[in-house]
């Protein structure tokens, strides 16, 4: 996503990225980042919490209007839950990231991509 932000900025469009993965977004050289420490899938706020969503989007609007240079990160103050256990459990054996169903679909997609490439090579 940050790579697209970079293409847009280079092309004259201002961007702000709302992310739940601070390290990935910063590493990619993101022009303007609003980071909220929530589980992946909640980049602009807590589900069904209008005020929280408005606050996070508002932080992005302020950053757009105030950033004097690229690379500024705004860390919003919102906390997902008092229990921070969800952070430790991510990508642990107890909580595999890829579900079995998703892994089957992923393998199928890879197979199709390889077949497509093989056809392209053959037809070239």
């Amino acid at each position: 996503m940050s790579l697209i932000a970079r293409v847009l900025e280079a092309g004259g469009i201002s961007t702000v990225t709302f992310s739940n993965a601070r390290d990935i977004t910063v590493s990619a050289g993101n022009p303007r980042l609003v980071f909220t420490n929530y589980p992946l899938g909640n980049c602009v706020g807590r589900p069904f919490d209008r005020e929280n969503q408005r606050a996070i989007l508002g932080a992005g609007f302020e950053l757009l209007e105030s950033a004097p240079r690229p690379g500024i990160v705004v860390d919003t103050p919102h906390v997902w839950s008092a229990d921070t256990g969800w952070m430790q459990l991510i990508l642990s054996d107890a909580q595999p990231f890829i579900s079995d169903a998703a892994e089957v679909k992923r393998q199928e997609a890879l197979k199709q991509a390889r077949a497509q490439k093989a056809r392209q090579v053959r037809d070239a």
Binding site: S14, A28, L40, G41
Partner: protein, 167 residues
């Protein structure tokens, strides 16, 4: 501030699963920048997202195919910016499914909130369409194919500001 270090964690996770190569996360030190050219209240705004969902009709039938990870063809899928938030079905596999369910589109694709901000005069207007693309392992594909296509469509719709919403 404590937060999850996804790069280290995913490398460790896939190493344990036996993958020989780990994903090469993008690293850039130079950062392109376009300062905002006018007040937000005069800007046209678009969402760009890697959220995976399909538009559905009133009866709940899918109106488009379910798409998984990116391939090597252009993958930019528009959605009308006035699309009804209850006419989508999430197909995401990338969120933290132990913590969250992707049942409120406005938590990851803020279509209702942005329409509110336009009505309130905080934002000038919305692009006719918002844009979805697929996560892609290839940095080159994103930078040279999907990124430029999103830029082209944003220019066509006179977009001033893009809000990027990754999942």
């Amino acid at each position: 501030m404590e937060y999850v270090h996804y790069i280290d964690k995913t490398h460790e996770y896939y190493r344990k699963l036996g993958y020989a190569k780990t994903y090469n996360y993008a690293r850039n030190d130079d950062i392109p920048f376009t300062p905002l050219k006018k007040p937000l209240a005069k800007c046209r705004v678009a969402i760009v997202s890697t959220a995976q969902f399909v538009m559905v009709d009133a009866a709940g039938n899918d109106l488009e195919p379910v798409r998984m990870s990116g391939t090597n063809v252009v993958e930019v899928f528009p959605i009308p910016s006035d699309w009804s938030p209850d006419r989508i079905r999430s197909t995401s596999e990338d969120h933290d499914r132990y913590q969250t369910e992707m049942k409120d589109i406005d938590a990851f694709f803020p279509i209702t909130r942005l329409n509110e901000f336009v009505r309130e005069g905080v934002l000038g207007s919305l692009a006719r369409e918002f844009f979805r693309t697929l996560p892609n392992y290839s940095h080159r594909k994103t930078t040279e194919v999907d990124g430029p296509e999103i830029l082209r469509r944003c220019r066509e719709q006179h977009v001033d500001v893009a809000l990027l919403c990754p999942v």
